[in-house]
Symmetry: C2
Subunit: 202 residues, 2 copies
DNA sequence: TAATTTATGTATTGATCAATACATAAATGA
DNA sequence: TCATTTATGTATTGATCAATACATAAATTA
């Protein structure tokens, strides 16, 4: 069945990628519709026809971010053979990802709308839900490692997952403050140096 | 010399404290003048007469935050007798400070304006300057510990300071996401468990 | 008391925001 | 060809923002 009506004059996914860039760099509130439409190369009626609203556009941009920039960091967590490798991968991949653009930008999920009572609470809570999901992903991986015998039974999986999640969040702030790749890799080194004492039977 | 003209009808510092609370919770952009004046109990002409502008009010609120909420965290760094005690104090005091209100709020310096190209770049850079100052404070304390013989000569003071600074920043995000005091204290525990391996002569 | 100075309350300003009205363009189906 | 459907461009809407104009109130100085 062919599409009825005048065909869309722009690439929807390319426009979404541009919108993601703007939201990533400027945050939700500071990304004005004028800036978005300029970056996307369309006018506001086209934006609203294709995406619905600024909030809906952000939600799609967030999903696009997770699928692209975020997948290289989080997807290998379950496939790597040890929890230690998985955690180390998250930290080192984060250090590289946060410093692969001209200007370091950190994580869109952490920085795009940090105030829970900001202008759009539903966006803030959606971002928070996603951050919590990442932490839970680490905690599940640690529990699996306990089940598999890699880690001792009394491992504090919740505390360790929260710790590494905290380090990963902090790297976003450091990246925004201009930290170099070497500095962020050094942060990952320091964080991983706690591994043995954190997972010691005792 | 007595003050000329009609005396101010409100307590300037109390109003500033109220403004700080609003900026702290809502961030610079989302804190509207209406919300600020309502919280401060004054009308906008009084605000502008007393503080100059929204930006100037924020700068004063930031200084007030540093002097009040921040001093308990950072002031003891130089007076504590070991670098280890100093770093531990920063982390544990942060965990307590970030969870002493009804709703966890994290650090105003980290969360009030996270986008460097936000609506007010001068505020973002001022906040960044302050974050960098805190990291430098840790690094200086570590270097002093090397000079005093507490830590070995080849200690990576810059990397260690960046690491603990990163953890402290990450705790702001966790606090905003509702982390409990126990969870943040656990993060501090995990971070401090890296101390021995980070400062081992090797 | 009269002149001066500073603060306050009410109302308003121009700018910017997200979102939309409306006419027109470009496709398909009959 | 002609009706229908969808997209686009121009222009505009009401809301909200930070900041201010202006008249009045409350103090000091002369």
């Amino acid at each position: 069945m062919a599409a009825r009506g005048r065909p869309r004059g722009f690439d929807r996914e390319a426009a979404l990628a541009r919108a993601m860039e703007v939201f990533w760099e400027r945050g939700f509130d500071n990304a004005s519709l004028g800036e978005l439409t300029r970056a996307m190369g369309i006018n506001s009626p086209s934006l609203y026809a294709a995406f619905g609203s600024k909030e809906a556009l952000f939600q799609e941009a967030m999903a696009f971010y997770v699928k692209t920039a975020g997948s290289g960091i989080w997807e290998p967590v379950d496939s790597l053979t040890t929890a230690r490798d998985a955690i180390a991968h998250v930290l080192y991949a984060t250090a590289r990802a946060f410093t692969c653009h001209d200007q370091s930008r950190g994580c869109m999920i952490v920085l795009a709308s940090p105030q829970p009572r900001g202008s759009n609470p539903s966006i803030s809570s959606e971002l928070e839900r996603h951050r919590r999901g990442n932490r839970d992903c680490l905690e599940r991986r640690l529990r699996r490692a306990v089940d598999e015998g890699e880690l001792p039974e009394n491992t504090h999986c919740h505390a360790i997952a929260t710790f590494y999640s905290t380090v990963q969040h902090g790297m976003s702030i450091q990246a925004r403050d201009g930290a170099s790749r070497e500095e962020l890799l050094g942060v990952a080194d320091c964080a991983m140096s706690a591994w043995d004492s954190l997972t010691r039977p005792n």
